[in-house]
């Protein structure tokens, strides 16, 4: 092929040449050239191989749907050659080949097509025995491009945008719609996936410059309109509720929210189905026009046109003007409606053949198009009696269209099949959604512009709530699509789906096997499931199924169009990652002390504090010893912290928690658990009665948000006179624990710390280091200790004061792991670690915390029932032999009894204070007697013996929290 003389609106810059490499050969392109256009101009016609049979393929659409011309560009794969511009230095290889396009070793698969029937994948995997072999084979053979796992994360911006009216498609109807909407006062965003706006108005000309001039005039008016933002190279890839539309450009995804949307996306030209319709050189008529007008490339020297509409004749005129010889125009129709364009073609001497089809295409010695066989068609069936052969290097397919209605379907538009246009058109559009142009079934050029103005005006009226004069749309009698563009052939290879190499016979076989519903057919045959998502195959597949079932296309219906309707780079979807992370107000202090952080939900918490030349375990055990023997400080600010105030605060908490909160005196605290309606333990914490009608309580770290949300809901439902305030982020809190904790705190506070004045489980308000504080004497880790809560902005100051005061007593920080071990020594459970989504209080020995005599609490009714039923399991303590060495049980390791699963471990750790491993496990009640021996199966299948023992493991009399200790 070669370049044409300069075209008026060509996309290439002839002043700037670029060198690139394809399949090991060097080529030269012009700036603005697509990869395919540059190669075609260089005479390269075989640009890729098909997915299944590895057949040679060339240009099909030049419209971003040529899935057989996808190339690997370094770490970028599946780059679409028909639209992606050439960059200098590109080193491209076609995807899906073994050894390159020309010498693809997998081309033998074409010869084996008889052994690869429709549904082959399903049939192959039917056998369990052969499954692994097929899986390996398919993984080896298939795949589009090579994924380089070292590809760096591409950070793309994420962005929101807004407008009154979004118009999708900047062809003649879209441009017209934009102007009408903008003239009515709407702020308009007009998007087009192509590099330049104008759509078919710039390349489907029929050698008629008036069309281009008209489109130019619209485009110039759009560019100059203050209310219009024109975004080229931008794909509206989906439609979501409330008019959210993701706009994809080369760099990023923009989530645009419009008040009204006009879909002016046009239509996809559809291939004619005949034998070997996939040979390089056979392409859509519109592809030839794009090559001519956008890239100034000869699509072929001698072309045969397969036509069934005026567009085929318009194409003939464009080809003739470009100097291409039109060998014949084979029109499938029985008669041709008189029109100026048909007459013009005839006057140019083109042989226009009625009731004529391309029966078969023939390959030359390079496997590319060399000739066709033409024949007559009668009632949709080829009559090969008088078939004749014609040499050509190009076949243009112009027999019909399918609306680009994907976004309309996603918006909830009800579509109907229109017999005249032979396509689905909107029957009922959702509020705020409008359609115009070809997608609306309007094909005449002037009618499309008028239809755009109508839709644009209506969209503006909807968006702005104004009245507008809606222009009339002239009648359009176009018949753009042939009802049966399918020529059957006994030797098949008449392709319907170029992505998946599906032939006409595949559909017949699928229907015969019972997959005769359009959704089933899609899944079984994989039609429309390739990278082009059925844009060039779904309509024909639907027609074939309709004919097989003797139904109308309307009765067969369409498949669901899901977002995104066109592939989008994963980096665009990921965008800039927003992963909210919470840090305690003391985070900087922890970091300075060498904390090793661990994730705890959205929080970062110190797991332990690293010490030079010490292992993780040694560091944790040091922290544990410090708590037991001296004094240590832990940040517990991640606990949920909620306040309930008001005359009915106690009543509210009484209903939410299982304990008797109404009996809790001012200055006292109480450990309490919370259940859901089924009696399952959902959360736990300490409730402090601060003042009359004021309660302050903690929740688990992971449960804070849920508890607050549920409490807010319940408060709204019950209408009690109280207010709920979430202070989780507003307060910092620390736990000062250990035998020396009182000595550390005493000089800093005005609160009387004597046991009489501040007993265990009391709460006091006062000052520490001049900071207003709330102090609770609680003992999750089983030592004398104080949980201190302060406004978050004073958290670091409090920490510093305590650490300073504690120096003389050997104070140090302790982390989450040490705390877990300390609480395990005390047999204290952690909700969601030692409980699960079915655990009720009686299974974890919490009967004492459940006051069934209360009038009501959430879960009470279920617990009344549960209480009467025998327990199926119980949380019990266990220990391993002191001499145990080797692997240690961890959470979820199974308890095996008489070869059956009897329970599972929930916690297990080495206790430096006891000198052996301790743990908690769910066991059958009859196995919970102390001294009972059971077996735990480890991950490697080995068994470990354990003995049930009573809890607490450490300080069972709780003497360390009493004055006498």
């Amino acid at each position: 092929m070669s370049r044409l003389p300069p075209m008026p609106d060509e996309w290439i810059n002839r002043a700037h040449s670029l060198k690139f490499c394809f399949e090991g050969h060097d080529y030269v392109a012009f700036e603005g050239d697509a990869i395919s256009s540059a190669l075609w101009a260089a005479g390269v016609k075989t640009l890729g191989r098909s997915f299944k049979y590895h057949r040679p393929r060339g240009i099909l659409s030049m419209a971003n749907h040529d899935v057989n011309v996808m190339v690997q560009d370094g770490q970028r794969h599946n780059v679409r050659g028909d639209v992606i511009p050439v960059r200098a230095g590109m080193d491209l290889t076609a995807v899906n080949t073994w050894g390159g396009v020309q010498n693809d070793r997998a081309r033998f698969l074409d010869k084996l097509s008889g052994f690869l029937p429709v549904g082959f994948y399903y049939k192959a995997f039917h056998s369990k025995r052969w499954f692994p072999m097929w899986e390996r084979m398919f993984r080896t053979i298939t795949g589009l491009g090579n994924l380089d796992l070292s590809t760096p994360h591409i950070r793309t911006a994420k962005r929101y945008d807004y407008c009154d009216v979004l118009i999708i498609g900047a062809g003649p109807s879209g441009l017209s719609a934009a102007l009408a909407a903008a003239d009515a006062g709407a702020q308009v965003v007009l998007v087009d996936e192509n590099a330049r706006a104008g759509g078919s108005g710039m390349y489907q000309l029929g050698a008629d410059n008036a069309r281009r001039d008209r489109t130019h005039a619209l485009l110039n008016a759009v560019r100059q309109h203050a209310n219009i933002r024109l975004l080229e190279s931008t794909l509206a890839a989906a439609w979501y509720a409330d008019q959210w539309v993701p706009l994809i450009d080369a760099e990023k995804m923009v989530k645009l929210r419009a008040k009204a949307t006009v879909v002016a996306g046009g239509a996809y030209e559809q291939p004619t189905v005949f034998r070997n319709n996939d040979l390089p050189g056979v392409m859509l008529g519109s592809a030839m026009q794009r090559l001519i007008y956008r890239y100034a490339v000869h699509p072929a020297r001698r072309v045969v046109i397969s036509a069934a509409n005026d567009d085929g004749y318009r194409l003939a005129l464009d080809l003739l003007q470009a100097g291409v010889q039109v060998q014949a125009l084979a029109d499938l129709r029985d008669n041709i409606p008189a029109s100026a364009v048909v007459e013009a073609v005839r006057q140019r001497g083109v042989e226009c053949l009625l009731r004529t089809a391309v029966y078969e295409a023939h390959a030359d010695d390079r496997g590319e198009l060399g000739a066709v066989t033409l024949c007559k068609v009668r009632n949709g069936v080829a009559d090969t009696a008088g078939a004749w052969r014609l040499d050509c290097d190009g076949v243009a397919m112009s027999t019909g269209w399918a609306p680009a209605a994907n976004l309309l379907y996603q918006s909830g538009t009800k579509m109907r099949f229109d017999e005249r246009t032979q396509q689905f058109v909107p029957a009922s559009l959702p509020e705020g959604v409008f359609a115009c142009g070809r997608v609306n079934g309007v094909y005449d050029f002037d009618a499309r512009i008028a239809d755009g103005a109508r839709a644009g005006s209506n969209a503006a009226a909807f968006a702005l709530g104004i009245a507008v004069n809606t222009p009339n749309v002239p009648a359009d009698e176009s018949r753009p699509s042939h009802p049966w563009p399918v020529i059957e052939h006994p030797q098949a290879k008449n392709f319907v789906d170029f992505d998946e190499d599906l032939q006409v016979k595949d559909f017949a076989n699928a229907a015969q096997e019972g997959y005769d519903n359009i959704e089933l057919l899609k899944r079984y045959s994989t039609v429309g499931m390739g990278p082009s998502q059925g844009k060039h195959s779904n309509m024909t597949a639907l027609r074939i199924l309709a004919r097989l079932l003797d139904k109308s296309p309307e009765q067969v219906g369409t498949t669901t169009a899901r977002p995104f309707f066109h592939p989008v780079p994963m980096s665009h979807l990921a965008g800039r990652g927003f992963h909210p992370q919470r840090r305690s107000p003391l985070h900087g202090r922890h970091a300075a002390l060498g904390a090793v952080f661990m994730p705890a939900g959205v929080w970062e918490r110190p797991e332990y504090y690293a010490q030079p030349n010490k292992s993780r375990t040694d560091c944790i055990h040091d922290e544990v010893r410090r708590v037991r023997n001296q004094v240590a400080l832990i940040d517990v600010g991640t606990l949920g912290k909620i306040e309930v105030r008001g005359p009915q605060a106690a009543e509210f908490l009484n209903r939410v928690y299982t304990a008797r909160i109404d009996l809790l005196k001012v200055g006292g605290t109480r450990y309490a658990i919370m259940c859901d309606e089924s009696g399952v333990v959902t959360d736990e914490g300490v409730i402090a009665h601060l003042e009359q009608n004021v309660y302050y309580f903690t929740t688990t770290t992971s449960g804070a948000a849920n508890v607050y949300r549920e409490m807010s809901r319940l408060n709204a439902e019950w209408g009690l006179q109280c207010g709920i305030i979430n202070l989780t982020g507003a307060y910092a809190s620390v736990n000062l624990a250990g035998p020396e904790s009182r000595n550390v705190l005493a000089p800093l506070t005005d609160v009387d710390l004597s046991s009489a004045a501040f007993p265990y489980l009391a709460v006091r308000q006062g000052k520490i280091a001049g900071i207003d504080v709330r102090i609770m004497r609680v003992g999750f880790v089983g030592e004398w200790g104080y949980e201190i809560h302060v406004p978050a902005e004073y958290g670091a100051t409090l920490w510093d004061a305590l650490m300073d005061a504690g120096k003389a007593f050997g104070i140090g920080p302790f982390g989450v792991e040490a705390q877990r071990l300390l609480r395990l020594e005390k047999g204290h459970l952690i909700v969601s670690q030692d409980t699960d989504g079915l655990t009720h209080p009686f299974e974890v020995s919490m009967e004492w915390a459940v006051k069934m005599d209360k009038p009501f609490f959430i879960g009470q009714r279920s617990l009344k029932i549960v209480r009467e039923m025998p327990l199926k399991r119980k949380l019990a303590g266990f220990k391993l032999a002191a001499s145990h060495s080797g692997a240690v049980p961890t959470e979820c390791h199974l308890i095996i009894h008489q070869s059956e699963i009897a329970g599972r471990v929930t916690s297990c750790n080495w206790s430096p204070n006891l000198g052996y491993h301790i743990g908690l496990a769910f066991l059958p009640p009859d196995m919970c007697e102390p001294g009972t021996r059971f077996q735990i199966r480890l991950s490697d299948g080995s068994m470990v013996s354990a003995d049930v023992c009573a809890t607490p493991f450490f300080d069972p009399e709780n003497l360390r929290q009493k004055e006498s200790a």
Binding site: A157, K158, R159, Y160, D161, Y162, K255, R257, R576, F578, H579, P580, Q581, R582, R583, S584, P585, H587, G588, A591, W603, G637, R645, G646, P647, N693, Q721, C722, G723, I725, L727, T728, G729, A730, Y731, A769, G770, I771, P791, A792, E793, Y794, G795, A796, T797
Partner: protein, 219 residues
Amino acid sequence: MSTPARVSPLSDAQTPEATRWIDLEQMRVVAAFRQELVAPLETVAIGDLSFRRRAGVKGPGAAAALNAAGISTPPQPNQWCISEGALVARLGLTEYLIEQHSTADAVSLVLTMAAAADVYPVPHYDAALIIMGPLAADLFRQTCSVDMATLDAHQGALVLTSVVGVGATVAATTTAAGVAYRMWFDGTYGSYMWETLCEIAHDMGGGAVGYDSLSQRLG
């Protein structure tokens, strides 16, 4: 005993880039950041105003209690107004945030309001930012689904929304330098929010500004 020091929830994130500090309202505040240029104020600048004291009140009797204390309240939810030297933001039907802007101590007034039925004080020790500059609304377009450009600063518009995935209250305000956005959010997200917004602002040619530059623009 000396007055205890307050620490900004953004302090950990700001410290590595801070070059000079000042004390405001007992809080250590960054006066200037390393490599702080004029550029942020010409594009998008992010400043920390967490030092301003805040308090809140909610409940059916909240508005009446505030009014009785001489503090005016906005007539509609999602609005703010200035009263008694404080910004009074109405966050919902019956919830208010008060941020002290002058020496008049509206916050203390709120926190010490006599206990009354249906009036519940809400302590606020959250993070507070100001985002200003010609590209401020553009910064939100990369971080929030609400179109901030539609918030009328002169009407005292505010919105409760999500910014970079974190719940936040954003108010459109006017400063000597033009429209600026105030933002309040849970301080435990402070480091994440500060680092994320500064990174995006940096990509836009802007970034963090210390209080020295900020105070000149705030007027």
